[in-house]
């Protein structure tokens, strides 16, 4: 980022005795060769010389911090004056947006003045990218904190996971200690588990067909999968309702909900797995085939293991997608106040359904239960993500990543300056 000017204006480095490899061997060679050969004159005795402090040109120094802080303060003051004092605008959001825009502009101007224009452009892009990432992270943190803040003060941990809402009485002030959402936790876990166990192998098989097997049906299947992934989730629910429940093939039950969830899970997982399989280098397939492996072996032992972490991510995204789906459950699981651990018969509760129905009532207690359900739902997703990341890690500790020593060697090479000797 900062160029040679930075290097020269860098603070003077520590005094280093002449032990650098190149000069050391050079002078010793001269000492040995000089007197006997009588050729070149003796090298001057090695003198300590000043090496510049090793630095990474891309380091973020104090100048940069000061520049950013200056730009932030200046833009704050400027926008405050213009926004609230001169134009009498109002609203925090508008103020923040204006502040940010002016901050970016001032960062460019300031950096261009102090360093140079190209560096300024680079800084501005860095600021925009980093702030976009920060915005994402802070949004997620905000949502999680908000739900936790609303849920945790009223939680009765003893009953939350163990009791259902069979004896729910809205007027009882201590009702939260007597009911829980166990029926919804069990329902959601069962429905999602069945949908995953049935849907994921189907999705992976479809992706393998699309990318590895090929043939005539590929175009048709890909079109259908794409169309399916565009289906609104409530349509999946209505589909199961009209085909299976309305025709009295099955009744409202967890399994009906699972079927609706599969309709949503299947296309999303298929598409991501297909993309992941496409990244696996063709050379690996050829290597496997050339070893005499049949195609199914190649897919099973080479392609899928190579794409393992990507496939796990795809499955995770699929589960995360369906675990919070509400619409497909409305006419399939139907919801229930009482515990029903049997996924195959009778109405079953689910966390999204509880949130949906409870948040719509005027009761504060209902709202608290809804937030607790939301909190549990997020926790389930979090646990899933952590577990999957843990299991998808590739075996073998060293996976070709450069070690820290390698990185040190690559970046912290002292740059010898030859001019020092001559002057």
């Amino acid at each position: 980022m900062s160029s040679g000017s930075d290097l020269q204006s860098a603070p003077p480095g520590v005094l280093i005795p002449n032990t650098s490899a190149s000069t050391g061997t050079l002078s010793s060679g001269n000492v040995v060769g000089g007197p006997t050969a009588g050729g070149p004159p003796l090298a001057p005795p090695p003198t300590p010389r000043r090496l510049p402090t090793p630095l990474r040109p891309s380091d973020f120094g104090s100048t940069d911090v000061l520049l950013l802080m200056g730009a932030a303060l200046a833009s704050l003051a400027l926008v405050w004056v213009v926004f609230y004092q001169l134009t009498l605008l109002s609203g925090a959001l508008g103020f923040l947006v204006c502040w940010y825009l002016v901050f970016v502009g001032l960062t460019w101007v300031g950096t261009a003045q102090v360093i140079e224009r190209q560096v300024a452009t680079d800084r501005v892009v860095a600021v925009v990218v980093v702030s976009a990432a920060l915005l994402m992270v802070s949004l997620v943190v905000f949502i999680v904190m908000w739900v936790a803040f609303k849920a945790i003060p009223h939680v009765h941990w003893g009953s939350l996971f163990t009791r259902d809402q069979k004896h729910f009485v809205p007027s009882d002030p201590n009702i939260l200690g007597k009911v829980g959402i166990a029926e919804a936790i069990v329902g959601t876990l069962e429905q999602v588990a069945v949908a995953t166990i049935v849907g994921v192998p189907l999705a992976i098989a479809t992706a393998v067909f699309l990318n590895e097997v090929g043939g005539r049906g590929v175009k048709l299947v890909r079109t259908v999968v794409t169309a399916m992934s565009g289906t609104p989730s409530i349509v999946a629910g209505i589909f199961i309702y009209s085909v299976l429940i309305y025709t009295q093939v099955i009744k409202y039950s967890g399994i009906a909900a699972s079927l609706a969830l599969i309709v949503i899970l299947l296309p999303s997982v298929t598409r991501v797995v297909e993309e992941v399989l496409r990244i696996v280098p063709g050379g690996l397939r050829e290597a496997s085939l050339a070893l005499g492996a049949p195609q199914w072996r190649t897919v099973w032992s080479v392609v899928l293991p190579t794409a393992r972490s990507g496939v796990v991510t795809a499955v995770l995204l699929g589960i995360a997608r369906i675990v919070g789906e509400t619409a497909p459950l409305l006419f399939t699981a139907f919801g229930s106040q009482v515990m029903n651990a049997n996924v195959f018969v009778h109405d079953q509760a689910a966390l999204p359904l509880i949130i949906y129905s409870n948040i719509a009532t005027p009761n504060a207690v209902d709202h608290q239960i809804a937030f607790q359900a939301a909190f549990v739902l997020m926790s389930i997703v979090l646990v899933l993500f952590v577990a999957a990341r843990f299991f998808s890690r590739t075996k073998g500790k060293k996976s070709g990543k450069p070690s820290e020593d390698d990185l040190m060697a690559r970046f912290f090479v002292p740059i010898p300056i030859e001019r020092d000797d001559g002057q």
């Binding site: 090929g214 280098p281 050379g283 690996l284 050829e286 290597a287 496997s288 085939l289 050339a290 070893l291 005499g292 492996a293 049949p294 072996r297 190649t298 032992s301 080479v302 293991p305 190579t306 393992r308 590739t394 075996k395 073998g396 500790k397 060293k398 996976s399 070709g400």
Partner: protein, 280 residues
């Protein structure tokens, strides 16, 4: 180079006990009237070539003359490419590999292949990579450890990796990866080993190491190697075949014979021009 040649040719051949392949030892390939098409375009015309048992045959020629296509026809990897067609016959020890009832999978077990770009399986450890071919064929060797050591020694990699067999194959350098691929191909005890420019992505040291490996394994397995490097062909091969595709014409074999003859006194002027670096 000359010193290196004398140094290795004087050294004893691999002292490892010869593998007990169910069909035994090196094989001989006879290609007869082989033609190849890609999407209806003829790229290789009537190639008839014999690859002698326990010898190294080099296929040389400029780019795009069908050497690699021919090589892939020899173990039925050609048919993996969509739109690829072929004609003619290829016989391994007298048995037509394209004959009725012959399965590509069996052919490839006997005729192994090493590719231009090193392609160890990244999800497997070094040891698993060596054993992968056996695993695919559902053969369990008597002693896995011994087999891994034997194959890695043959490929000249054992000393470098013997303490890190549990690491992933991708952790090796390019030259080591290529030798791992050779060990992997040798582990199924093929009768013929096809090598498609195995050194083109490697540095001179690794290249030399692999050339030594080729010489070491040649008595146990017939080697067919595609190379762009004349010196390499001269160093490693016993026989040579010169492929050439003239403008807008499919590739053909211009001349073939012993390497000494091909380089010293080629009968065809085009061969002489090519091996002396006047084109290509």
């Amino acid at each position: 180079m000359t010193t290196y040649m004398t140094a290795t040719s004087g050294a004893p051949a691999s002292n490892i006990a010869r593998g007990t392949s169910p069909l035994g030892g090196a094989g001989e390939i006879d290609a007869d009237g082989v033609c190849a098409w890609f999407s209806g375009r003829l790229v290789l015309e009537l190639v008839t070539l014999r690859m002698e048992k326990s010898k190294v045959t080099a296929l040389i020629g400029p780019s795009g003359c069908g050497k690699s296509t021919f090589l892939r026809i020899l173990n039925r990897m050609h048919e993996v490419i969509p739109g690829a067609q072929l004609a003619g016959s290829v016989a391994l020890d007298g048995l037509d590999i394209y004959g009725a009832g012959q399965r590509a999978v069996d052919t490839r077990r006997h005729i192994g292949m090493v590719f231009q770009k090193p392609n160890p399986f990244p999800a497997m450890t070094i040891a698993e990579n060596v054993l992968s071919g056996l695993r695919f064929s559902r053969i369990s060797p008597a002693s896995r450890g011994d087999l891994v050591e034997e194959m890695l020694t043959k490929a000249g990699l054992w000393n470098e990796v013997k303490d890190r067999l549990g690491e992933l194959g991708g952790a090796l350098s390019g030259g080591q990866q290529q030798r791992l691929c050779i060990a992997r191909a040798l582990a199924v005890r093929p009768r013929v080993l096809l090598m498609d420019e195995p050194c083109s992505a490697l540095d001179p040291t690794s290249t030399r190491r692999i050339e030594r490996t080729i010489k070491d394994i040649a008595d146990e397995v017939t080697v067919v190697i595609v190379t762009h490097n004349m010196q390499q062909a001269q160093r490693v091969s016993d026989y040579c075949a010169f492929f050439l595709a003239e403008e807008n014409k499919p590739g053909r074999v211009v001349e073939s014979g012993t390497t000494d003859m091909m380089f010293a006194e080629p009968t065809d002027q085009r061969t002489a021009d090519y091996v002396n670096g006047r084109f290509g």
